[in-house]
Amino acid sequence: MKRIYVNEEYCIGCRLCEVHCLVQHSQSKKIIKAYKEEAPQLMPRLVFEEEGPLSFAMPCRHCVDAPCLDACITGAMHRDEDTEAVLCDEDRCVGCWMCVMACPFGAIQRNLKGTKAASKCDLCYGEEMPACVAHCPNEALTFEER
């Protein structure tokens, strides 16, 4: 399957990945509206890390053998049959945070202000290219089959 790959050497720390992730997952899909009206219930579904000159975005790896799938007690976390992406059905999630405990990438976050559910990358379900990759100005994020 196609995955998002992270090339930390090319990341310039602009954080446009976070911005466009949030906008893509907003109701309005408009940057001003999303940030003024929909945040902070919305949050970027990737984790951005930065320390000194080094930075990178960390979206879910959609692991072949995903520990979050084993850990989920509700069945909310599931593998999509069509895309093979690991998705979280936020309506079923009860916020037990077993997935937060299990994910070795720390790529699953708690959305405490909005859904109260686990928040993670869905590869921008239905889009050809995830928004973070599409808007990365320096190809620090790529979407490809390796």
Binding site: R3, E51, L54, M58, V64, C96, W97, M98, M101, P104
Partner: protein, 433 residues
């Protein structure tokens, strides 16, 4: 070729899904004494607490059995296994024959011999049916208060449920602190203070000696070992669980030949000592990667994984189970907590290095346990974000020497890890557990 699975929870589902990945045709029969479609046992406390409705109890879509071509035999109890004839006998007569059998018979709550244990109003708390019985009892008897016996993880689940129902709670724990098997003393004491602040009474270092009924039915009070009297309308035993060995325990009448120690003994393929009989989940003992012993670790993620491994092997595709270690994520009166691995070593304590951070103002606590510069245990109370990175470091036995001082820093993340390890993680096609 016929597959039979006894049990219908996490391990059974893991196995069904694995079998169907590799074998689309041969029949699978699932035998369960419960009548429910596959549901989530950990959500039983959410159901009792009215935090989820019945529809959300189901762990898989309602067409799971059809989708996976499973013949479910629900509400049917398996009473014996004939490993020679390869049949499972059923209560009420009849047998199911198999070529490969999987035992996912789970665990049973441990209940100590206490006077008054058989009274109406005394419950254990692991199944859907238990939640229904307790719910009915609370409604029918105008229950206002409850005594929870056991301050471990099951006790905490009972607290979550009954606190949500607005009951006045007392938790009594035999050890000198609650959560003594997953937490260290500091985390336990913090958890106790969180519970007390939320209105529960916590009594440690003693347990219940007698439960006294009311004339005309119901509970009047409980008496602790030291004579203290606890007024309560309901008693829940949540001391712990033990592997359910009812079907397997060697007894001259129904000796299955399946080797049992503290749990059912299995190899790395999750096969028991009897060929073509596999076992997975709470009923087995498996390798504890940290303590380096075989023992039962009754947690959901292991059951799912073991079921998956068993299912692959049953379908003829070799897969091994590497072992695991305890890990739990538990909400304590609204405060998230995570405990992974060996969090409070008791033996050879001088071999371990402990790093801790306790923020009294924020009421957060983190504790990491290192052994020869490898992380072996972690506790997070209050702040659990990115705790899974610790879990990964424990599993991969990574030497943390180069970034030890960053482990508890606020900005700790993958960025703190050595470049090679980080690259290995993010460039690989996906980790394999």
């Amino acid at each position: 070729m016929r597959y039979a699975i006894i049990g219908n929870s996490a391990a059974a589902v893991g196995a069904v899904e694995a079998i169907r990945e590799h074998d689309a045709e041969n029949p699978i029969t699932v035998i369960s004494d419960e009548t429910h479609h596959v549901y989530s046992r950990p959500l039983v406390c959410h159901l009792l607490g009215e935090l989820v409705d019945e529809e959300r109890m189901y762990y898989r879509p309602l067409d799971f059995y059809e989708q996976h071509q499973v013949e479910p035999m629900l509400g049917v109890r398996a009473t014996g296994i004939d490993t020679q004839a390869k049949t499972v006998s059923l209560a009420g007569g009849g047998t199911v024959s198999y070529d490969r059998l999987l035992l996912t018979v789970g665990s049973k709550p441990f209940v100590p011999p206490v006077e008054g244990i058989d009274l109406d109003g005394v419950f254990t708390f692991t199944k859907w049916e238990d939640a229904q019985k307790i719910d009915r009892y609370i409604r029918d008897h105008d229950v206002q208060s409850a005594l929870i016996v056991g301050g471990g993880l099951i006790g905490m689940k009972a607290v979550k449920a009954l606190m949500a129902r607005g009951l006045r709670l007392t938790v009594v724990e035999l050890a000198d602190r609650i959560l003594s098997t997953s937490f260290d003393r500091t985390a336990s004491k913090l958890a106790e203070s969180i519970l007390r602040r939320a209105g529960a009474e916590v009594i440690t270092g003693t347990t219940v000696k007698e439960i006294v009924g009311k004339e005309g039915g119901g509970i009047d009070h409980a008496v602790l070992r030291d004579g203290e009297v606890i007024d309560c309308d309901l008693v829940i035993f949540g001391i712990g669980v033990r592997p359910n060995l009812d079907l397997i325990l060697p007894d001259p009448e129904k000796n299955t030949g399946i080797k049992v120690n503290r749990g059912i003994v299995v190899d790395a393929h999750m096969q028991t000592s009897v060929p073509d009989v596999y076992a997975a989940g709470d009923c087995v003992e498996t390798y504890d990667m940290i303590l380096e012993v075989e023992r039962p670790i009754a947690i959901w993620p292991h059951a799912t994984r073991q079921g998956h491994v068993a299912g692959c092997n049953m379908a003829g595709v070799e897969k091994t189970y590497e072992g695991g270690f305890p890990m739990n994520s538990e909400d304590i009166a609204g405060v998230p907590t995570i405990a992974v691995g060996l969090t409070d070593p008791q033996e050879n304590r001088d071999e371990y290095e402990i790093i801790e951070k306790y923020d009294r103002a924020a009421q957060t606590y983190k504790r990491l346990v290192l052994h020869r510069n490898r992380l072996v245990g972690a506790i997070c109370v209050g702040d659990i974000d990115r705790a899974g990175i610790y879990t990964g470091l424990i599993r991969d036995q990574v030497d943390v020497t180069p970034f030890k001082e960053h482990l508890l820093s606020g900005s700790f993340g993958l960025i703190s890890l050595p470049k090679e390890y980080r690259k290995h993680m993010v460039i690989g096609e996906g980790i394999v557990v």
